[in-house]
Subunit: 239 residues, 2 copies
């Protein structure tokens, strides 16, 4: 009971070190790109005198493509990381059985990097040798730096990023749904998206423990830079 | 001398565990999205009867916007991770000075998770207590799981991803530069991009240690899914 309380207190202490969970990270990834690229694409196309209809077609197509690319791509990447973990786990397990002296030397190497002397680390090495499961966990974490992936995470991450991208992407496109004249729609889109970028950038800074105002400005700046580039390239292709 | 050789052998042994460097990872990230989204956007727009000129304008604008979003976004994310590391380093340093008993208890906690008994880990804890620099490194790595970021990496990563995205994105757009009739250009784009996706997917599998043929098929499948979604959404908006 006391140990559980102690564990819980230590875990809470560790968690205070981290200010953004993995889901928040995925939302940030999705919304960051979703707010920026469709906005820039729409702004660039309006600069090239496209109609709201064309801009909407391109914008919605891009949001769909981007959501799938990021979502499905992220899902497969997470799955392949999980496969990688299992392969490394299997290899490490074989090494512990086949070449335990080499593995024990690796533990010694790891600990000696922290100025720990042989007479100090040898009891630890021997303790691990007698406990193959713990030894395996130790090697996975301290030699390879790999954490056991949660099987649910791949799908969860993919859906979060894809939905975040769609939500982010629809914000700059909304005006084009309602305002047929592209030049008017783009003005509304710029205002709407700029506000969204500043608010989102602020939230991003808050959740990642970075200065929120600076984060807001940086996020808006990326949006501005991306749309300037899109605008410039669209003009270059047209002219 | 013998120790350096031993270090070198152990490092090589560790490196064999990893089959993709960080630069390769950034190239994979950039080319994956670059091959997929501009291709899908162009295919979707051609399905909505846009001309090659419009498709090119949209495509090039999207590549510019995407490269900036990913590149600049990636750069700022890497910088903020570096800031996060420095903040955690500072906090950990303060804790080692202010509450050494709590920090020592954390080391004990970490080692006891591997079945190591107090009489076995206490010499290690005491050795760390006498060596504050090593203790700090130990806490950063084993409690927080943070690696010291290379200051060059942020810029290097951003440029790699942005350039990879541009190179990836130009592949499906090339036919539209030369073939004015969109329906003909899209056929060439599909063939060109499908080949590029398969080759790239194969290479990706090879470098990440995953089955290359399966990776090739998955990569092509994402491209197909993204363009189907873009095609469908473009038709939906048009009709």
């Amino acid at each position: 009971m006391a140990r559980e309380l102690e564990n819980s207190l230590l875990n809470q202490h560790k968690e205070k070190h981290f200010t953004a969970g993995e889901i928040v990270r995925d939302i940030i990834i999705g919304v960051s790109d979703g707010l920026t690229v469709p906005f820039a694409l729409a702004a660039g196309l309006s600069g090239a005198n496209a109609s709201s209809a064309v801009i909407l077609t391109a914008g919605v197509a891009e949001v769909a493509a981007g959501a799938i690319s990021m979502g499905l791509g992220g899902y497969l990447a997470a799955k392949s990381e999980a496969d990688h973990y299992m392969r490394e786990l299997k290899r490490e397990q074989e090494e512990i059985i086949a070449v335990p002296d080499t593995e024990a030397a690796e533990v010694a190497e790891i600990l000696s990097e922290y100025g720990i002397q042989p007479h100090e680390y040898t009891p630890v090495v021997n303790a691990l040798r007698k406990n193959p499961k713990a030894w395996l966990d130790f090697m996975m974490k301290f030699e390879l730096g790999l954490e056991k992936p949660d099987p649910k995470r791949a799908l969860q991450s993919a859906l979060t990023i894809a939905i975040a991208y769609i939500v982010g992407g629809l914000v700059p496109l909304l005006p084009y749904f309602f305002i047929p004249t592209a030049t008017k729609a783009v003005a509304a889109s710029v205002v709407l998206t700029l506000m969204a970028l500043l608010v989102f950038g602020y939230a991003k800074g808050h959740f990642t423990g970075n200065k929120p105002f600076r984060s807001a400005l940086q996020t808006a700046l990326i949006g501005a830079a991306a749309s300037a580039a899109a605008f410039g390239m669209a003009k270059a292709v047209q002219g």
